[in-house]
């Protein structure tokens, strides 16, 4: 009987010592790690710093690019032509006139219930404003090029209900709607998937949403009409 008593005392004291030591060590470790600053704040600041560094790098690169072009333009006719064409290329890319590729995300929206497919009839169908919400979020998260079912979305693109279908650039798109966007794939996907965000909202509305990060996304050029009848440069 005494033997078991001593055994239990020994076991209990070993366990107690273990607990004390582990608790002591984790307390010390957590105090050292923060060094007086709350953990959240430090994280926030480091994120901000990274963002600013990225911005600074981009601006530096742009400045270099522009000075290069200026130099080339100063050098002579041939170089000037080259500079103009490269500038033109850049502007074309901005306007969506060039097919582009890069990393990004692919979001597929599909009607929750098979059967009645038209957004006007089916309560659970994907609506034009659902697609707009996703697009808005993508743009806000820094997407550089966006297409819906292979139709390039540019500055003048519309997304609206036309009869029982959704039109993009006056082209009819049919479900499932595959929205592809080029940009930082982590930022894009996390801004869509943030809790309370668009993806959660759409799922709660009964829409099937799948989101995939991709290393390579190809987005075609804008293929529609391109004329300005009323707007003129000032």
């Amino acid at each position: 009987m005494n033997k078991t008593r001593f055994l239990s005392i020994a076991v209990v004291s070993v366990v107690l010592g273990l607990m004390l030591a582990i608790q002591f060590r984790s307390t010390v470790a957590s105090q050292n790690k923060n060094a007086g600053v709350p953990f959240d704040r430090a994280q926030e600041l480091s994120v901000e710093m990274r963002q600013l560094e990225k911005e600074r790098d981009a601006l530096q690169q742009e400045a270099e690019d522009l000075t290069n072009k200026l130099n080339q333009a100063n050098k002579g006719q041939a170089q000037a032509l080259q500079a103009i064409s490269s500038e033109l290329n850049k502007v074309k890319m901005m306007a969506g006139m060039l097919p582009v590729k890069g990393t990004g995300v692919e979001i597929v929206l599909d009607n929750g219930k098979a059967g009645a497919q038209s957004p006007a009839e089916n309560l659970f169908a994907v609506r034009d404003d659902d697609i707009l919400k996703v697009l808005n979020e993508l743009r806000g998260a820094g997407a550089e090029a966006i297409s819906i079912n292979g139709v390039r979305v540019i500055a003048t693109s519309e997304i609206r209900l036309a009869g029982t279908f959704i039109n993009v650039n006056l082209t009819r798109v049919l479900p499932p709607y595959r929205i592809e966007a080029i940009g930082d794939k982590d930022i894009l996907s996390s801004s869509l998937e943030i809790s309370g965000g668009v993806v959660e909202y759409l799922r709660s509305m009964g829409i099937k949403v799948s989101l995939e990060k991709k290393e390579q996304i190809n987005i075609p050029a804008y293929a529609g009409r391109n004329r300005f009848d009323y707007a003129k440069p000032i």
Partner: protein, 125 residues
Amino acid sequence: MWLGVWLAVLGLFLGVMIGLNVPLILPSIYAHYMSVAVLAALDSVLGGIRSAMEDKFDNGIFLTGFFSNALLAAGLAFIGERLGIELYLAAVVAFGVRLFQNLAIIRRHLLKRSYVIKEENRLSR
């Protein structure tokens, strides 16, 4: 009695050594639970010492009390966190009060014993 004390000290030392050398740091989320569990365990140990002094020590009660108190305290902290009530405070208060009580009773026992020894020494002289 003294063998038990030495065993306890030795075990404590062994446990601390293991704890300091194991490359495991508790995530700070669990530190809360562990701290209350440590308090509960400390209370059980003091309770055990007290009952040993009163000659009422029961091995089963001691062992089950040690582990169930620690688990209950950690569980209370866990539930409290889920419910948004700081339930671990209940454990802290309850075990804190009992710690002091147990310590006071142990102190009284020790004092009484030393008086008895003094009396015996005086009488035998």
